[in-house]
């Protein structure tokens, strides 16, 4: 059948390409990014090897490993691999061997961190001119010529080490962070010596570093430049200047390919754009460089769809397509596309919660969609083993947690039956996807729903399971994944449609209601009601954010988009303060544009019809606030009545049934934690 012809739908994506002496099997590139899997001395760990090997196994053509640091000054995090240190050679060799064994090629990216660092406080920061990078309070040391020569030698020594470690090429970062862009950038470089003043002078030091790398690179190995084409700041350079930099680098004759990039630490939401930035937003940048350059160009910028990638190649906007987050979310993306299984690809949701949020804090990389990311040695789907004796696994609840348990248990060969009381699978994710700029979160349960159906899981929707009858199914394992509900008093209207499912736990002192008088009133609306489309009464809406994540912020934005006047109060120091950096930056910009008022350090004390009593936590003053509706976002309560009843029944009956609870039914949390927990449970059942 034509659909199973390798690469049938993606002829351009799966055609080989040669860069200098390096043959790539296809046009997909695992983009370089800090994964924080190195140890605190800058040594690559087995986790680094497994992380990159997983992507090579998944079919990508080229892996770019890094960034790696070229010298101790300029190591943006202690966990940046210390390429200058010969001690890394055998450790990096382990990675290159593992990647090569799967037929992929591997380059290393080198970066001197310059004026940027992830450390708090940072070590001394190097720059052409003494000044803080505007997003940081920390100023820099202006380099003298001796510093420059040391930096050049750092690139040279690192290259020698990497060549010995088996890398097929070196990519030099003149991109969204680091020293070399700061030399090239008119905003950051005010030198009056031979390294500043004119365009040629600003490019001189970056070119000296590029030349040092080329001199130490065997003739058959490739040299590329990751180039920031547009800084996206009010003060920085734009595309025309980025293209001029590329032209200058290409004219040197030292460069074999370009890898496109944009943004800076002062516009970091454009470096690693979250879902609020359209997919393929940066295509005009790729196109412009491709049009100007005779070298192979790697496209970048939130490209996750195989069809879009194919289209970009076929229409000549680039020669290769870079993906970082898509291949973090699904390492097997290339193979699935090539084998005609595009429907099985697990899409990146652009949340940045697992990848960027973790590594920006120098914590090991993770992924909401892929529980194994950064811990492939323990949780890779390649390690799942089919069980010798299949068990009957009954999953109650078809949200993210229940679906993940069903998927993994079925992949291991268990007989899985899943019950969902709603008409549709997806649980809270279905509601979350209704928030503005949040539709991609639905990919979490789209993927899982397709997977469980493909795997032959017996799925019952519109069926509410009861503990009394459950044991009649003779299950070996029952997994309770009944989720959570807004923690409002049982007298509140929500209990008409969504009965209180935590009464047993409250009776046993295992759960509490928030101690705020008036939460049972009709003017109080749960987030679930709002996102399900409940019409709110006239007047201002007060959203109470005790969680700091999208549950309140996204719901406030949903209401603002519906034309409502919204105020968010939070007793924390920052409203929505749990959001990842790029997301909160863009949320605060949108909130300002949409007229959403933010009141941090403010606590809701009481609700009465038409008004709410607020306390300013800094001054202690209290104030009655006129409001049409109050939307409280406190920690949700586990819907765990079924679990407790079932445990009691199993104990009474003395039957050999393993009862587990997973996801929000155990404790309401973010999807990333819940999916990992579900994977781990199902991998061990």
């Amino acid at each position: 059948m034509s659909g199973t012809t390798p690469g049938a739908g993606f002829p351009a994506l799966f055609s080989p390409l040669r860069i200098r002496g390096v043959e790539l099997r296809n046009r997909l590139v695992f983009q370089p990014h800090f994964n924080a899997l190195g140890d605190v001395h800058g040594m690559p760990t087995e986790d680094v090897t497994a992380y990159l090997e997983e992507r090579a196994w998944g079919g990508v053509g080229l892996v770019v490993d890094g960034s790696m640091a070229t010298m101790p000054e300029g190591q943006m995090s202690r966990k940046y691999v210390a390429a200058w240190d010969p001690a890394t050679i055998p450790l990096n060799r382990r990675t290159t061997d593992a990647v090569h064994a799967h037929g992929a090629r591997i380059f290393a990216q080198l970066n001197h961190g310059g004026h940027t660092s992830l450390e708090h406080p940072p070590p001394v920061l190097w720059a052409p001119t003494q000044m803080p990078e505007p997003s940081s309070p920390h100023t820099t040391k202006a380099m003298d010529r001796r510093d420059m020569l040391r930096a050049i030698e750092g690139f040279a020594a690192s290259t020698r080490n990497l060549v010995e470690a088996g890398y097929d090429g070196i990519e030099i970062k003149i991109a969204h962070d680091g020293l070399l862009r700061s030399f090239a950038s008119p905003f950051f470089n005010h030198r009056t010596d031979a390294y500043g003043g004119s365009f040629e002078n600003r490019m001189r030091f970056p070119l000296e570093c590029v030349a040092a790398v080329r001199e130490n690179l065997p003739d058959d190995r490739a040299l590329g430049i990751r180039i920031c084409l547009h800084e996206y700041t009010p003060f920085g350079y734009e595309l025309d200047y980025g293209l001029r930099m590329a032209e200058c680098l290409e004219a040197s004759g030292l460069v074999d390919y370009f890898n496109c990039d944009a943004g800076s630490f002062s516009s970091f939401w454009m470096e690693i754009p979250p879902a609020a930035v359209a997919q393929g937003y940066f295509r005009p940048l790729n196109q412009a460089l491709k049009k100007q350059s005779d070298l192979p160009v790697v496209a970048f910028g939130r490209i996750k769809d195989g069809a879009l990638a194919e289209h970009m190649l076929a229409s000549g906007e680039a020669d290769l397509v870079g993906m970082a987050r898509q291949l973090i979310a699904d390492p097997e993306t290339p193979r699935k596309l090539e084998e005609g299984r595009a429907v099985e690809v697990r899409a990146c949701i652009g949340c940045n919660d697992g990848c960027l949020h973790a590594v920006a804090q120098e914590k090991p990389i993770r992924c909401v969609q892929n529980p194994a990311a950064g811990q492939e040695r323990f949780w890779s789907e390649r390690l799942l083993v089919r069980v010798a004796e299949p068990r009957s696994v009954v999953v109650i609840g078809g949200g993210a947690a229940g679906l993940k348990v069903a998927e993994i248990a079925a992949r291991r060969g268990h007989r899985v039956t899943l019950f969902e009381r709603a008409e549709h699978l997806g649980g809270q994710v279905r509601l979350a996807a209704r928030q503005p700029h949040h539709e991609e979160v639905a990919e979490v349960t789209h993927y899982l729903e397709a997977a469980v159906r493909r795997l032959g899981v017996e799925v019952w929707t519109g069926v509410e399971a009861t503990a009394d009858d459950l044991l009649e199914l003779d299950p070996d394992v029952v997994v309770v994944a009944t989720g959570s509900q807004p923690n409002l008093p049982p007298a509140h209207r929500q209990s008409q449609d969504d009965p209180d499912a935590a009464a047993i736990a409250r009776g046993r002192g295992l759960q509490l209601l928030p101690e705020i008088p008036g939460l049972e009133l009709d003017c109080v609306y749960s987030v679930d009601e709002v996102l399900a489309g409940a019409p709110l009464p006239e007047g201002r809406v007060l959203v109470v954010d005790a969680q700091g994540h999208w549950e309140a912020a996204g719901t406030a934005e949903y209401l603002a988009d519906a034309g409502r006047q919204v105020t968010i109060v939070s007793s924390r120091t920052v409203v929505a303060g749990e959001l990842e950096g790029t997301n909160i930056a863009m949320f605060l910009q949108r909130a300002a544009a949409k007229g959403i008022a933010l009141r941090p350090m403010t606590t809701l004390l009481r609700v009465e019809p038409g008004r709410a009593l607020l306390r300013d936590d800094a001054t202690g003053t209290e104030e009655w606030w006129e409001t049409g509706a109050v939307v409280p976002v406190y920690a949700r309560r586990s819907r765990d009545d079924l679990y407790h009843r079932l445990c009691d029944l199993v104990e009474e009956s003395g039957r050999d049934v393993q009862v587990e609870r997973v996801g929000d039914a155990a404790a309401a949390r973010l999807i990333q934690t819940v999916l990992l927990e579900a994977h781990q449970l199902a991998a061990s059942v």
């Binding site: 059948m1 659909g3 993606f10 195989g306 069809a307 289209h311 019952w460 929707t461 519109g462 399971a465």
Partner: protein, 254 residues
């Protein structure tokens, strides 16, 4: 009154093996069209009394796909299964099912418009012919009373109302009603229910008329629907909205 609903569970993404036969190994399930046929039969039974029997010719390991019909309220499920049935086309399938139906002695046979995979939309006609029963096809509304079945039929030229004496064959026009959700107790009962099995030998039909041996057509080739990679992507040069409208208009979607 005995109402027999003929259904065909199919995998969510049907594929063909090298011999051009449907690969039915991956989690076959009733389609919305089949569920709608079951719902129609249940409503008739709930009005006039009697029993609903669900009938399918499936590989033995796909028989569980009939259980949702039992959970909805069907009284019995009968599976016609056996190696001799593999590779059946319309002719051989209708031969087997007609024999099974003769054994069941239905007052009314209900079918969906077409199967979810082969999409032949002819089985109801073939069964009517083999059983010598009147056929009402393309039905969107059905009533049964006084030994007669009345149907509103949807055709290109409008709605027809027609009736036939029972016993008769009734074929529906797509998903004509919303299937009911079962209760948890009904699901448990359905999962425990014993499915009745009829073997090819019990059909009383010569093996030469069953399965591949009894088939007279052969699938030469089948291609999957175009992959997403072949999607048409419209670039926005300022006129993308007009081109999207044109695209939809050309396909009469606007």
């Amino acid at each position: 009154m005995r109402i027999v609903v003929c259904v065909k569970p199919v995998p969510p993404e049907p594929t063909l093996d090298d011999a051009g036969r449907l690969d039915r190994s991956g989690g076959a399930a009733l389609t919305g069209v089949d569920e709608s046929a079951v719902e129609t039969a249940l409503r008739v039974r709930d009005g006039v009394g009697g029993e609903v029997v669900v009938l399918a010719m499936v590989p033995p390991d796909a028989a569980d796909a009939l259980r949702p019909a039992l959970a909805m309220g069907a009284d019995r499920a009968v599976v016609v299964a056996g190696d001799a049935l593999a590779g059946a086309d319309l002719l051989a399938t209708s031969s087997a099912l007609a024999a099974a139906l003769r054994g069941l002695g239905p007052d009314l046979v209900v079918l969906g418009a077409a199967s979810g995979d082969g999409n032949g939309a002819l089985l109801w006609a073939a069964l009517g012919e083999r059983l010598g029963l009147p056929v009402l096809s393309r039905a969107v509304e059905v009533t049964v009373a006084d030994g007669r079945v009345r149907a509103t039929r949807q055709t290109e030229s409008g709605l027809h109302r027609a009736e036939a004496e029972l016993p008769a064959v009734l074929a529906l026009s797509g998903e004509v009603c919303v299937p009911r959700y079962p209760s948890f107790r009904d699901v448990i009962a359905a999962k425990k229910a014993v499915l009745e099995t009829v073997t090819p030998a019990e059909l009383g039909v010569p093996e030469s008329e069953l399965g591949a041996a009894g088939s007279r057509t052969r699938v030469l080739a089948a291609a999957p629907a175009p992959a997403r990679g072949e999607a048409e992507i419209i670039e926005d040069d300022g006129d993308a909205h007009e081109r999207v409208v044109d695209f939809l208009a050309q396909r009469r979607l606007l």
